[in-house]
Amino acid sequence: MTPISVALVEDNDRMRERFANVIRAEPSLHFAHGAATAHELLAWFADNPVQVLLVDLGLPDLSGLELIRRCVRLQPACAVLVITMFGDEATMLQAFEAGARGYLLKDGTESDLANHVLSLHAGGSPMTPIIARQLLLRWQADASPKPPAAVQPKGPQPDPLSPRESQVLDLVARGFTYPEIATRMSVSITTVQTHVRNIYGKLGVHNKTEAVYEARQHGLLP
């Protein structure tokens, strides 16, 4: 089995070195490239397909969210993972909207890091209770009727959640683990993870439809 190719953009040298070492040490992962700035990465990224891209959000030359958007456009098949600080849930949500598929914590242990990359690549998607709660609130706000029409600008609504997805979000928000959720819902853990991935996907779709909508608004698209 060919190792999974991983590229990395991180402006902190020590952090970048640490991630690089972790990836090199893991036989099933292949360290393809480590960039210090967004432009350096973009220059390389255009010609070199990779399977996983790790992105630090606090880059000096370009907003990490913008970088994610561009990379997703360049290589839609590549799984973009955000390297984030512990507890920065708000930024994680934005990253998901920009097209990221998962996140890594900067202060995780070495084994955590490698396992996470592998797990994410395999389709696993972690979700903290706080993210779940914020997503619930967001979809509830979108779904509930809004009498004052002027409050929110008219734009595309995200695809509504299925009842199952809502249930998953609710249980995650209340602190249940994926296995517990699977038991409660009488489904497999894989199904739960699929639900979670789909929820993240809807955020990204939301992002895409919004982009199309905005392009139409500005006359860039027919």
Partner: protein
Amino acid sequence: MACCPDTSLWRRWARCAAALAVLLGLLCSGPSWADPATAGAEAAVVSIQSLDGLLAPAGREPQKGHVGLPFRWDKAYPGLDGRMRLQVLLQPSAPGQAQALLFDRLGNQAQVWVNGVLLHQMGRLGDASTDGAKASLMVAVPAVVLRPGEPAQLVLELSAQALRAGGLAGIQYGPLSEVQLVWAQRQLLERPVSAAYAATLLMMGGLALGLWWRQRDPLYGCFGLAAVLGAARHLDAVLQVPWLPWPWWGGVLAICYGSHLALIARFILHALGRHPPWLVRTIQVALVGSVVLPVLSFSLSQPMWWTLALTLLEAAGLACFGLVAIEAVRGQRSTAWPMLVAGGVALVAGVHDIVFVRMGLDGSTRAPLTPHAVFLFVLILAGMVVARYSRTVADYRSLNASLAERIAEREQQLQAAFDALQAQQQEQAVQQERQRIMREIHDGIGSQLVGLLSLVNQPEVKPDELSAQVKLALDEMRMAVDSLQPVHDDLTAVLATLRYRLQPRLEAAGLAVQWQVSELPPIPGLSPAAILQLQRILLEAFTNIIKHAGARTITVSAELQPGEPPQVHLSVADDGLGWSPDASTAARVGQGVRNMQARAQAIGAQLRWQRLPAGGTCVGITWPMRPPAG
């Protein structure tokens, strides 16, 4: 700078003066309209200068005499009623040509006979209810009445009342077509002028009285009354049949006219804003005089009393004029100069009227000028009203503007104060939060790091111990970060997050978790500090179980019990060896337990350890949810 208002003032005066001059010129030319001599310029029209007559004053012997024109009964027989019969031969006229007679004045009652034919009758002779002597009269003489080539005989039968300006003035005779032209022109200037005066005075009087009614300014009241009273005399000139019989009507008119003049004098004082007591009293005396004296005069048929009243008024007017002159020279009132001009004109007119009209010193009949002169005061009042109104509007606008400005200013100040207060509160909140975080870092992760340092410095330190200490520090840091998460009063999210963080470690320790957390309602005022304390209590409980209990399962439950206040019940139970603070195991965890108790106290919660019958321990937390103080 100071010259600007002066020049504008001068310009205004100049304009007023010019207007007055024009009016004055018009008035001065007034008598000439009544002067019969000028109208006789037409060759075919002749002026009759004298008549022969029989004059019969009441209560005296009739006497024959030669009557020169103009003839005024009052002057010949002051205070007496009477009759007269006058006759004269008129020049022959062309055959078949209608002639006409034009009388400047004829009355008070009259019959006009030509060649024994009654051509015109004004009232009934001796009946005082009508008065024809107020305007000129044209009588057409039809050709059938005339005998070609022979002079015609004109006979005038007149009756006159005392003090009523009866008599005869200016007779012109000529072809009807010619005389008619002269009369048409004459008519144009007689009744319409009086009617216009009357209407204007009534209108201005009404306006002034309206202003007085709303503002109660004596200036307006005084003028309004004066104007309405003054209108009576002009109105009378238009009336052929007065509303009252003579001499009552004459008395009423005189009282109206006299008090009109007195009130105008009072108005002048109001307009100047000066009220010297002596002058006020003088005017009051003149006012009373102009009511009492006409009554005397007309009831006793004594013209001198009325003349006295007019003289009294003239004196009061003269005194007013002096005051106006002083004010004008002092230059404190812009109305003083127009007032001075009007007053001067009125005084001259008044002297003219007393000397020539009332007393008849020059032996002629003249029309009184004072009613015309007084009209200047109407213009002054109109000017004052316009000026006051304009000033009021200007003041109102500037007041509005300054009010709006002040409101805007106050709003700005309020906004600034509000902003400052808000900024201060925000700064205070930030400061407090910063201090709290500093304290948390110091007490939490700081103390962990200090412990780690002392551990590192020990000679024989095991890597496990080091690792455990570092993990504690990391836990501490993560809890501090989590306590700052925006959970929006959501205790469920706090518990869920704690579990999410601890789950890998619990799994690593081989512990299963029974998670029995029901959905808790939002808890208002759930502060980061309280969240952190609760997290620490729970973490301590978990850590104790991992380290010491030897348990396989941890059961976490949370529920809200309604009450006053509602209470959150949390419990962490294990199925391990079981211990409680008083048991021997407590010695090893003593410090941790004391910490937990202290933290529980800090958030107002109660901790309870319970040994479970089936083995294991349960830590229960009872936390009353008091609404945030304040």
